[in-house]
Symmetry: C2
DNA sequence: AGATTGAGCTCGCCA
DNA sequence: TGGCGAGGTCAATCT
């Protein structure tokens, strides 16, 4: 028997289960479609009644119960936990993924296996760009874009209440706290500035740098007498 | 030819492509494994070089390029966008998912199709529980758990800077602002209380209700003279 | 449709 | 390991 083959539903439960067990053990990514119940318990809890659905098991131990509609899975377990795949007598395939910290358990019980795919992912070169760090670098290199005479003093300056994105000094010598957002700034963004002002003192100025801000953020910003500087990431990168 | 069948890799590209096209058109969830390049552009951008990987296409238009290790996909597009599946001459299967607002495009080009699964998800009854709202309700019903003599006045009380989780009144008649977290409270949680105090006035008291809090959150809480009440969700539900 | 907020967020970074 | 912040966050809810 070829244990590397996919299952087709036209074979015994035991045989199908063995194929999946074997595929996972050999380090493949495994897709399984069949009837199962799913039970998650941990930070939250979610139970899925018997139904036909699909499960993805990755060699790292990441486990997903696919949602039929959404991007996010119905249930899942991140990689790093303890995963066991076992054939329970002659009735069910059991997949268990448990992790501690947080203490969580995902249990899947297949009572019927219909289809599966096993495959090995081949490496590739991915290029990702467009992070907030890149905007920081741009501002540090071009501080006059924010304000004439501004000079950057420190990047990611540590404080008791989090790191200041960019710590700078204006033309008059006053120290300036910059909070940078790559998209619309929210109340939280202004609160961050507020925390930094709390610890750095009122002699500082605070500037929020973002492509835009929500109405409520603008209100709070004005109330705190902070400043706003519009900067669109797409225009500088 | 049975267009409902899965592909096996032992057939022509055209035939395999037609099967996938047909499966998607008929409302199935489709898994495909093969060699492809992936290109995303929108709020960010990410390009994946040619490689063997798997793609999940759902009838809602949700599209995922599976990560070999992680729970989160390498690339994706949420449901609701415009999805087209087409066979490009006799060389490649092209899957395109475009949405506006935000303006984003995900393009997948398969130059080789190896395996596929097509299936229909059967409905089931999912039970989900364990939300922050449930904790709110518990506190509203049992305010003395927080403090003797406390009475809840309003749930989700609207303010200019966000909604107060629970607005209450203590034994002495002073109004109290409760911010509830179902897990460890962070700096943000304290900042939320801070915003509410800004708008409600210093005559109020502020209490953070959570199972625990981070060190920095505790510092800021003390600095603001807010109070903390330990409440574990698992102990009340 | 836009804004806001929670989430079992996930993930990566750094002390 | 734990805290902290970013994310193409996603997805639900309300305006």
């Amino acid at each position: 028997m070829d244990y590397s083959a996919n299952i087709t539903g036209e074979e015994s439960m035991q045989r199908a289960a063995n194929k999946i067990l074997n595929a996972h053990a050999s380090g493949d990514i495994v897709f399984v479609v069949g009837d199962c119940t799913v039970s998650y318990d941990g930070r939250g809890w979610k139970y899925l009644d018997e139904g036909k659905r699909s499960v993805v098991l990755k060699p790292t131990g990441a486990l997903l119960v696919t949602s039929p509609e959404k991007v996010k899975p119905e249930n899942w377990q991140p990689s790093g936990g303890n995963v066991t795949v076992s054939f329970d007598g002659d009735t069910a395939l059991h997949i268990s993924a448990v992790r501690e910290n947080p203490d969580e358990s995902l249990q899947i019980r297949f009572t019927n296996l219909e289809q599966s795919i096993h495959y090995t992912h081949t490496e590739d070169n991915a290029s990702v760009e467009g992070t907030e760090k890149e905007i920081h670098e741009y501002i540090i290199d071009n501080p006059s874009e924010i304000e004439d005479g501004l000079r950057a003093l420190e990047h990611e300056k540590e404080t008791e209440f989090g790191d200041i994105d960019i710590y700078a000094r204006d033309a008059s010598g006053t120290h300036v706290i910059l909070e940078v957002k790559r998209k619309t700034a929210t109340l939280d963004s202004v609160s961050q500035l507020n925390r930094y002002m709390t610890v750095m003192g009122d002699s500082h100025r605070a500037i929020l740098v973002a492509p835009s801000m929500t109405d409520s953020a603008e209100k709070l910003l004005n109330e705190n007498q902070f400043q706003f500087c519009r900067l669109k990431p797409t225009e500088i990168l």
